[in-house]
C-alpha cells in the first residue's frame, strides 16, 4: 500500500500507462497543429464540415461519465457497493452514448465518400478521433470489469485500489477529448 499523499490514487502501473498515452496524444495534437500551419485554408474549410453539435453531445457525455465515475469512487469509499456499481454502469452507458454518436458521425462521413485519403485534414480528424474511440472502448471494458468485481464484493472502503485504477484511466480518456474537441472542431 503506497502513500497516497505522494502517489496518485490507483495502481502505479496504470499511471505509467496513462502518462505514456497522454504523451502519444500530445504528439498527435502537436502534429495536427503544426501541419495546419502549412494548410490553414484547407483546415478551416473542412473543419466547417464537422458536426459540432455531435461533438458537443459527445463532450457532455464524456464529462458526465467522468462525473459518474467520481460518484462511484465516492460510493465505494463509504462502503456502498450497490451505489458504486450503479454509478459505474451509468458511466458505461454514457460511454456507449459517445460511441453511438461518434459512429453516426463516421457513417455520415463514409456516406459522403470521406476517408483517410480525402485530404490531410480528414486524415488527421479521422485518425485522431478513431484512436480516441478505441481508448473509449478500452475504458469501457475496464469500467465494466471494475463494476463486475465490485458486484462480487472484491472492493470495500478499506481496499478499492482497483476502482481508483479504472477511474484514473477513464478520466484520462475524458481529458484527451477535452483537448481534441476544441482543437479539431472549434479552433480556427
Amino acid at each position: 500500500m503506497h502513500d497516497h499523499r505522494t502517489y496518485p490514487p490507483g495502481d502505479l502501473a496504470i499511471w505509467i500507462f496513462i502518462l505514456a498515452e497522454l504523451l502519444v496524444f500530445a504528439i498527435f495534437f502537436a502534429a495536427y497543429a503544426f501541419t495546419r500551419v502549412g494548410h490553414v485554408e484547407l483546415f478551416n474549410t473542412y473543419q466547417q464540415t464537422l458536426d459540432t453539435n455531435a461533438a458537443l453531445a459527445n463532450t457532455l457525455a464524456l464529462i458526465t461519465s467522468s462525473y459518474f465515475v467520481m460518484r462511484a469512487v465516492a460510493a465505494i469509499r463509504e462502503d456502498n457497493i450497490k451505489h458504486c456499481v450503479r454509478w459505474l454502469i451509468a458511466a458505461i452507458v454514457m460511454g456507449l452514448l459517445f460511441l453511438l454518436i461518434k459512429s453516426a458521425e463516421y457513417a455520415q462521413h463514409y456516406s459522403h465518400g470521406i476517408n483517410l485519403r480525402t485530404n490531410i485534414f480528414y486524415m488527421f480528424y479521422l485518425s485522431l478521433t478513431f484512436f480516441h474511440f478505441m481508448h473509449v472502448i478500452m475504458g469501457m471494458v475496464i469500467l465494466a470489469s471494475v463494476a463486475f468485481m465490485a458486484r462480487r464484493g472484491k472492493y470495500s472502503a478499506a481496499d478499492h485500489t482497483g476502482v481508483h485504477t479504472g477511474a484514473s484511466y477513464w478520466h484520462m480518456v475524458d481529458m484527451v477529448w477535452l483537448i481534441l474537441f476544441p482543437l479539431v472542431y472549434v479552433m480556427r
Partner: protein, 90 residues
Amino acid sequence: MNFALTSLRPCTRVYVILMALTLATWLIGQSDLTGIAIALLVLMFAMLKGLLIGDYFMGLKGLRSLWRWAVIVWLVIPGGLISWAFVISV
C-alpha cells in the same frame, strides 16, 4: 430550491463548471468569432478543464509529487505548442 454553486459537493461543482466551459466553447464554435485571440481563449478553456479533471476527478490536487506535475506539464507543453502553431499560422 437554492442552487448556489457553493452548496454542491466539490466534484459536482467542478462538473457544473466543466459543462459550462464546454457550452461556452461550443457557442464560440457556432458563432462568427474567429481569429487567434478566440482560438487561444478556447484552448485556455480546454486546458482549464483538463486541470480540473486532473485535480478533482483524478484526485491529484494537493499531491506533493511529480505525478501531479506530469499532468500539468502535459497540459502546458502541448498547449504551448498548439498556441505557437496557431500564432505562426496567422
